[in-house]
């Protein structure tokens, strides 16, 4: 049974705090194994990749077959049914259009001293995208990771996807083709992360690695962070729905189950100011679960982590939403704009009854790689900015240095950094001569 809370109950605060801190994942401690794999790939390169792939994916590769050739990709892509290709192309076009608008502007201005200041954005040279294999191999994630990189102007885009027993989802390869990925390799796990971070004879190193993965991939990304940039370490998915009484309970039940079916550790929460709607949604969920092909997963998630919270009013709902800081937030209310204005922390907001979260997973346009586990308090979903970096610019004139240089000398002396002060003072001397 999902958790049922009511803000008018005496023990609400304690029970809500418990909901916020409940542990949903027992991440296995694979850090030592991952450290060994990374060291092996760094030291032995392709030879390590071939051995590790034979061991973990039961696939015999050579340095020549680590890469999936463009011909193989084209062949697999050609076999995808037309409706699926069209859907992927629509998704790609919409994701591209949304992310195009995220390109930040350079700036340059001259201030009152005559100093010219500003900054400039440039893309990283190369980005690597990790795509999980097997059941969690999602073509939509290929688009969501690759398109922002392409929009940012990244020169070289690499993708690694494991091929357990040689199998790769053709739709993933089509997505790679549509997104314009330059190189695709059939390797996975920590060894793929290591190959992209350190490089091998076959795979040149990249500057940023993004994409979801299992515990090994997550631990490997954490370890190579600093040598390369990484996106984030994602936890299990979450949805929070704020709903008034005027909703179809079945729609909301399906929205809750769309998260629950991802993973037994996923979490779906409904907050409503209408207790009767809460009951109706709970019943609709129970009715729907047995009909789902993933009934086991969705049922376990809902039973262990699902929650329905009844609040006095929607202001209270917004307060709770800010404490939850959900990855996905649906606002199924009469005035979703007004409610959205009260939400400070959420990865993505889906406004109104006609915006199921699942539309955002595929074709809405915004990115579906979003901060989990309350990290929307301080972090953002994947964007073009993850593939860009900013260089600050400053140009002093003699006059500008004359105006502000003396303060720099004073502060350098205060910080006992003598050469700092002298480097400015030497120029000021010439000015004053």
């Amino acid at each position: 049974m999902p958790i049922r809370l009511d803000t008018t109950a005496a023990d609400f605060d304690a029970r809500f705090a418990a909901l916020l801190t409940m542990k949903r994942e027992d991440a296995p401690d694979v850090d030592e194994a991952v450290a060994a794999i990374l060291a092996d790939v760094r030291d032995r390169g392709d030879a390590a990749l071939v051995e590790l792939t034979a061991r973990f994916d039961r696939l015999e590769l050579t340095a020549d077959t680590v890469r999936i050739s463009p011909a193989e990709i084209a062949e697999a892509a050609a076999a995808v049914p037309a409706d699926r290709r069209a859907a992927l192309e629509l998704a790609a076009a919409r994701i591209r259009a949304y992310h195009d608008r995220q390109l930040p502007e350079d700036a340059e201005w001259t201030d009152e001293t005559g100093a010219t200041l500003g900054w400039r954005w440039t893309p990283v040279d190369a980005a690597g995208l990790y795509v999980p294999g097997g059941l969690a191999s999602y073509p939509s994630s290929v688009l969501m990771n690759a398109i922002p990189a392409r929009v940012a102007g990244v020169g070289r885009l690499v993708m690694c996807v494991p091929a357990p027993d040689g199998q790769i989802d053709p739709l993933v390869l089509l997505a790679a083709q549509i997104a314009g990925i330059d190189e695709v390799y059939r390797i996975g796990g920590a060894q793929a992360v290591g190959a992209m971070a350190y490089g091998t004879a076959t795979i040149a190193p990249v500057d940023v690695i993004t994409g979801p993965g299992n515990a090994y991939v997550a631990a490997a990304k954490r370890r190579v962070f600093g040598r390369v940039g990484i996106d984030m370490i994602a936890g299990p998915s979450e949805v929070l729905i704020l709903a008034d009484g005027d909703n179809d309970p079945d729609w909301l039940a399906l929205d809750l189950l769309a998260q629950a079916e991802h993973d037994a550790s996923a979490q779906s929460i409904l907050i409503t100011d209408d207790a009767a709607l809460g009951d109706a949604v709970a019943q609709a969920v129970e009715r729907r679960i047995p009909q789902l092909s993933r009934a086991d997963i969705a049922g376990a998630s809902w039973r262990d982590f699902g929650a329905i919270v009844v609040v006095r009013d929607l202001d209270e709902a917004a307060d709770l939403a800010n404490r939850i800081a959900a990855e996905h937030l649906e606002l199924a209310v009469a005035d979703p704009q007004a409610l959205a204005a009260k939400v400070r922390h959420a990865g993505a907001i889906f406004l109104g009854r006609w915006t199921p979260e699942a539309v955002g997973d595929y074709v809405g346009g915004p990115n579906h790689v979003l901060p989990t586990a309350r990290s929307a308090r301080f972090s953002s979903g994947l964007s073009v900015l993850d593939f860009l970096k900013r260089t600050t610019l400053a140009t002093m004139t003699p006059d500008a240095l004359g105006a502000i240089g003396p303060a720099a000398v004073t502060l350098a002396e205060a910080e006992r950094l003598e050469a700092h002060g002298l480097s400015v003072a030497a120029r000021l001397e010439k000015l004053n001569r």
Copy 2:
């Protein structure tokens, strides 16, 4: 003796590669000790802080004296000489003016399907700034970390600074006052990072922790990353100067030494197309070192990690600069704009002979917290964005869902996420009835 390279030498590629990968730091492995400190602070809160501060800083605190009161700050600040106060205020005003321009814009638009899309930036609720104690306690860093947070609109700004034997630099407290920090605590090390990340009875937790620190602080930041946001794990400082022949060798020598004096692990590199200038700068450095109060540090840095590289022309210099991806890049050339346009990777660029890097450390305006150790390939200096996060927004209308929903259903089916598809399909059914 610093390294001397010439791009026309037969062994240049190998020697330059060695320069790029040379290890400058032997970071002590304090991870286990840090894990224990963090667990202790999480479990025992203020009691752990008091004990750890007595042990590491030889300072007896109680829960009541952990915080430095506004009266104490005001008293310390009032004792700072007027010229230093004026210099800090000028620095603060210039940093604020620069960072004000970094505030990103929200966006909202309606596309051809009728879907309204966009995003919104919001500040984190609370940020914590770590300031090292002792010799590395820099008031300029207080401004560089706190002002972007304040500009971002962060509601609560916390600072932790250790007070070894009870001592704190009054200028640091004045900087905290000028920057508008709300709460200052006299604790340091991993225990301060733990207190800000987990919270104690006295110190409420924050959402983002920034600021430099020793190996303990760096390891603690790495460990709490995910629970809170962090800025970056900074390595030793670096400067790269690209210079043509028309420079005063003494100015460039002082610029090189301004980095070298930070830390024996700092690195200063000069690349020039004029071998005679390279020689003259090398001589000027040797002449200057013994005059410096930090001659030992600056001398060790220059001897162990300093380098002078002679190139055929400035295009070659730009190529090498992109491979080095320096934290600080000075362009002491006749046309610095043209050369800057060829540089893709650098934390901050200082253009022209009148822009010594040290002016940027204090009063230029741009942030002095910048990516080290070649991480300018993929990351940026500290900015207002580090204290903001982006929430994506999507609003579908029935028409918009009718237009793009079927593609979402197709992709959900392809990914075997049945409830995803049903949540969209249920709404489409109502449309089609």
